[in-house]
């Protein structure tokens, strides 16, 4: 019979709007989590699939030795698509001239992600190559090679023992990479014609790649099979999220931001549920007392209200799921139109997460109020002051805190991030309790001197001291989270903006002969093109560290027993495996930051070298280590005197090794620089570089375009996240205001009866919410700084900074938003006359 009563209570209360806030809070929690996680997952999948183009595949296996055919055959068993790619340097001959080129031999199916673009003439209008590759006997070459060798489309070039017709101009390869020192023009040939060139000999400096495309499940299953057979000295397995490129870092940062934003939604929704649950249970104290008086046992009451709550929760979750799906579908549609791309479908995980969030929020946060509700004594029918026992209050805090942390962890699966937010929230709570206590004490005195509206407002705050402390906690949390998103958005976007300024160089010029430097600079000046600094470049190899040779490319002697060498000599470091571009400079380059050691004096005569931080870390190099270099047969040693951090995202010329002038000035060098030329002026390039045939030009426009597109997607996502968190915050505030309405109603009856004017009541209510909001804003700003400090330093690996404007924005926005919401929520209350209010209360 109790289930009938439970169902009836739910039906009637829903119909009468009594459960609106409670249901809205759960709907909000589920909607926020589902729409956000669906959107995040689809966007991330979209980002990864777009980014997969940078690899031309979903995963790449790289090797210094030929890759076993069996491994490729096995990939087909896992239903993966594969393609092979072999990359090496060689010389190309044509028209009696020769040039160093990067040969890329690819099999059918390449590229598995992204596309090749070609043109009919050098620097001509590009078009997609579709699924085409060079025909047998054909090669496609970059514009720079046409320029260097004076080629025309249809001419013949000689590579090793083979001859190829240069059929098209290669303008874009998805996997060209970010390294600006791939300074030789690329030539694309067919994989099955590679052997005929006779260029691949034991010991050749060749990189073998197998490209894979398929679903995550297939890729992971294949990797599980492959991993035990890989030798980390020879093989590397890469996805787009690995590696150290600016894109990979941006993706990682974006992923963390999405995660964080999702967590904010969860905490806000849980707060709304907690507030609504408390109010819901308080409103049912009388009902429980009446039902107990009429003969209901504790078990019956328990069954009635637990079922009531479960039904309400399930009902709200279903609505939340529908609404969440609808919202993300709208946003995804909009994003798809904006970006001209479609995003992949999401898995079932977001639905499970949203449902668990709804269940955990509703059940964990209502457990304590429900316990109190069930314990309401029947005697309350005669004595309305009786409200059951409050001795398990600690349980409430434990359950709430545990539920929030569990949700954070469940949702982020990132202990550090969850803990930072949790600790931030806990700190806010403690600080809030202390500050609000002080404030209430001060207001007791200040209120006595203030005008009547202020006095009433202060008195209101004072009277509801305990409730206000809890309300302030929620207001502060909401404002803190909003500030945090604003701050992070600003910080992250600013960081990205710094990475890619509007005038980021889109061309690199390399191989500038010393005698051409002046003439080239004149040409640039004549055409009003500004360039970055000119850097001299000397090619050289790093051969030893502290007297111990580095392990470099496979040599003929070592090819057979490389693995043994690696295990036998742990001191031996892995080298670069290629020639490095070495430079010298008197001053620290812009966008570089010294991490250790000191920069040299311009006139220093002792040899010194400064090493890039990531290289230093990978090769375990420290200030004071001696590095040995070989430049054109000349071998010398220099000490490391500094370690530099380089911002690779600037697309300026950057170097792993920078020497002082004394070391390198005597070696023959070429020069390198970068410049920005807008797209419409692209046709000027051919004329500009015609007098400098040996100069190579590297087009970064396509790369920058791709990177900017990814960042545009991330920025849009951040905008969406912000709107969602803002909405969740406003709803929490409304739930809070609603929670205090009953008590306010009682006060208004008294004040109205005593003749208080609407104006006075309006003002006192506005001021009360304003003070509450402003104080919450101050606390929010403080807590936000703390959390941001932890996040910036620990999670996002940025440098910490203070955000003074938020100390103004926090209290101001808190005061305005809470006052407006409070006034709106109390609007109907103040307009009622005393008789109506009294009738309502009785």
């Amino acid at each position: 019979m109790w289930h009938k009563i439970s169902w009836r209570l739910l039906r009637q209360e829903l119909k009468r709007g009594e459960l609106t806030i409670m249901a809205a809070a759960i709907v909000l929690a589920v909607t926020a989590v589902l729409s956000l996680s669906l959107f995040t997952e689809r966007l991330q999948a979209g980002l990864v699939s777009r980014s997969a183009e940078f690899l031309a595949a979903d995963r790449v296996l790289s090797s210094r030795q030929p890759i076993a055919e069996e491994w490729i055959a096995q990939a087909e068993q896992f239903e993966l698509r594969t393609a092979q790619r072999v990359v090496f340097n060689s010389m190309a001959f044509a028209q009696g001239q020769l040039a160093l080129v990067d040969i890329k031999a690819v099999s059918d199916g390449y590229p598995l992600r992204g596309e090749l673009r070609v043109a009919q003439m050098p620097y001509g209008t590009e078009e997609s190559a579709g699924a085409q590759l060079p025909q047998p006997g054909e090669a496609w070459a970059a514009s720079a090679l046409f320029q260097e060798l004076g080629l025309q489309v249809g001419d013949t070039i000689e590579i090793g023992q083979s001859e190829f017709t240069v059929a098209r101009v290669l303008t874009y390869e998805p996997d060209v990479g970010f390294s600006v020192f791939t300074d030789s023009p690329n030539v694309l040939i067919r994989y099955d014609e590679l052997a005929q060139t006779g260029l691949i000999q034991p010991g050749s400096r060749v990189r073998y790649h197998v490209l894979y495309a398929g679903t995550e499940v297939q890729l992971n299953a294949y990797y599980d099979w492959l991993a035990p057979q890989l030798n980390s000295d020879i093989h590397s397995w890469r996805g787009i999220e690995d590696g150290d490129s600016p894109l990979a870092r941006s993706l990682q940062r974006a992923e963390r931001f999405m995660l964080l934003a999702s967590l904010l939604g969860v905490v806000l929704a849980a707060t709304a549920v907690a507030v609504a649950a408390q109010r819901y249970c308080q409103r049912n104290y009388d009902v429980v007392a009446i039902i107990k008086t009429l003969g209901a046992g504790r078990r019956q009451i328990q069954n009635i209200f637990v079922l009531h709550l479960l039904l309400l929760t399930l009902f709200s979750i279903v609505i939340g799921l529908g609404l969440g799906w609808f919202i993300q579908a709208q946003v995804i549609d909009w994003v798809a139109v904006q970006l001209g791309t479609s995003l992949p479908e999401a898995s079932a995980k977001p639905y499970l997460l949203a449902t668990s969030t709804g269940l955990i929020s509703a059940l964990m946060f209502t457990l304590y109020p429900l316990l109190r509700l069930i314990q309401i004594p029947p005697l309350r029918v005669l004595n309305r002051q009786l409200a059951g026992t409050a001795r398990w209050r600690w349980l409430h805090w434990l359950l709430s805190a545990g539920a929030i942390y569990a949700l954070l962890l469940l949702y982020s699966q990132h202990v550090l991030l969850s803990s930072a937010l949790f600790v931030g929230g806990a700190l806010a709570a403690v600080v809030l309790l202390i500050i609000s206590q002080c404030f209430i004490r001060v207001s007791r005195q200040a209120g006595m001197q203030a005008g009547s509206s202020w006095r009433l407002a202060m008195a209101g705050l004072q009277r509801r001291a305990q409730a206000n402390r809890i309300q302030m906690l929620s207001f502060s949390t909401a404002i803190m989270l909003l500030l945090l998103v604003l701050a992070l958005r600003h910080e992250l976007l600013a960081d990205w903006q710094r990475q890619l300024p509007a005038d980021a160089p889109n061309y690199f010029v390399v191989n500038i002969a010393p005698q051409d430097v002046e003439r080239l600079q004149q040409e640039f000046a004549a055409r009003d093109i500004s360039t970055a600094d000119l850097y001299p470049v000397v090619p050289g190899r790093m051969t030893a560290v502290n007297g111990i040779p580095v392990r470099d490319e496979v040599t003929k002697e070592a090819a057979g027993d490389e693995a043994d060498t690696a295990t036998n000599n742990s001191e031996q470091r892995e080298g670069f495996g290629r020639e490095l571009s070495l430079t010298w400079r008197d001053s620290l380059p812009p966008n570089n930051q010294l991490l250790a050691g000191q920069w040299w004096q311009p006139d220093s005569t002792e040899g010194q070298v400064s090493v890039e931080a990531d290289v230093a870390k990978r090769m375990r190099l420290q200030v004071g280590d001696m590095l040995e270099f070989n430049i054109g047969g000349h071998v010398f040693e220099v000490p490391i005197t500094s370690i530099r951090e380089v911002n690779w995202g600037t697309l300026q010329p950057n170097f792993f090794m920078i020497f002082n002038t004394a070391v390198l000035a005597e070696f023959p060098a070429t020069f390198i620089t970068s410049f920005n030329l807008p797209e419409p002026r692209k046709s000027e390039l051919f004329e500009l570089f015609k007098p400098f045939p040996q100069v190579s030009l590297i087009d970064l426009d396509a790369l920058i375009g791709q990177l900017r597109e990814v960042i545009d997607q991330v920025s849009l996502a951040i905008g969406f996240v912000l709107v969602l968190v803002l909405m969740a915050g406003i709803l929490v505030l409304l739930a809070q205001v609603q929670a205090s309405l009953d008590e306010r109603q009682q006060e208004l009856v008294i004040l109205r009866t005593l003749g208080a004017s609407s104006k006075l009541l309006n003002r006192s209510i506005t001021y009360e919410f304003m003070i509450l909001g402003a104080l919450s804003g101050v606390i929010a700003a403080l807590a936000m700084e703390l959390v941001l400090w932890i996040l910036q330093v620990q999670v996002f690996a940025m440098s910490a900074s203070m955000h003074w404007r938020f100390w103004l924005i926090g209290p101001l926005s808190g005061a305005v938003v809470v006052a407006v919401l409070g006034r709106l929520a109390c609007f109907g209350l103040v307009r009622q006359n005393a008789a109506e209010l009294i009738r309502k209360l009785t």
């Binding site: 009429l294 504790r298 029918v381 005669l382």
Partner: protein, 226 residues
């Protein structure tokens, strides 16, 4: 003997010391009697009502309902006893605001597991003159109408005892008289034992016995004096 108290006492400990709300009370009420308990505010009459109905626990002494000692029952058993034998009418009506008049009346019968709760409730509401207002919510009814619903609720399941706490205290004089008439008429029809707490001496005089509560002491006013 339907209701009996033996040395029933209620005291609470305050900062100033022990406060005796009820001095030891011995009382016996036969089945079918109508009893009024009168007294000033704070004299302890509502406390006595709460103890008699098993809503509160005595400090010492016993309450026997139908020979069952309430002190020996736990909260669950006392609730069970209320469900089976006791009906209530309160000054502030105490209807559940989210349930209709019909649903409010059905509630005690449903809690007691009776199957024809709705039929009984409809008949009772017709009897109290609210046959047309079954689906109205408490806030859509006047004070008098709400108390009629409460009376109907009190009589569902034909309780042996009806406890009424100031049943007309929140009503105007004319409505109050109508409610009194209805209450006594229904009580007479069902033969229920009525124990009523009231300020109203006129209302008290309609009862067979009048008990006066003064500073926690209960004395019976002889019928010829009342």
């Amino acid at each position: 003997m339907l209701i009996q108290t033996l040395q029933l006492e209620k005291k609470v400990t305050t900062q100033e010391g022990i406060l005796h709300i009820l001095q030891p009370i011995d009382l016996a009420i036969e089945a079918g009697e109508t009893v009024a308990i009168v007294g000033a505010s704070g004299s302890g009459k509502s406390t006595l009502l709460a103890l008699l109905a098993g809503l509160d626990i005595a400090s010492s002494g016993q309450v026997l309902i139908d020979q069952v000692n309430l002190s020996a029952l736990d909260e669950e058993q006392r609730a069970q006893l209320r469900a089976e034998k006791i009906g209530f009418i309160f000054q502030s009506f105490l209807l559940i605001p989210s349930l209709t008049a019909l649903e409010n009346v059905m509630l005690p019968a449903e809690l007691a597991g009776q199957k024809n709760a709705e039929q009984q409730a409809r008949e009772l509401l017709v009897k109290v003159g609210l046959g047309e207002r079954l689906t109205h919510y408490p806030n859509q009814l006047s004070g008098g109408e709400q108390q009629r619903v409460a009376i109907a609720r009190a009589f569902i399941g034909t309780p042996k005892i009806l406890f009424a706490d100031e049943p007309t205290g929140n009503l105007d004089a004319a409505t109050g008289r109508k409610i009194e008439d209805l209450l006594f008429a229904m009580n007479e029809q069902s033969g229920t034992t009525l124990v009523m707490v009231t300020h109203d001496s006129k209302l008290a005089q309609r009862c067979q016995r009048i008990l006066t509560m003064e500073a926690g002491r209960l004395t019976e006013v002889p019928a010829d004096v009342a």
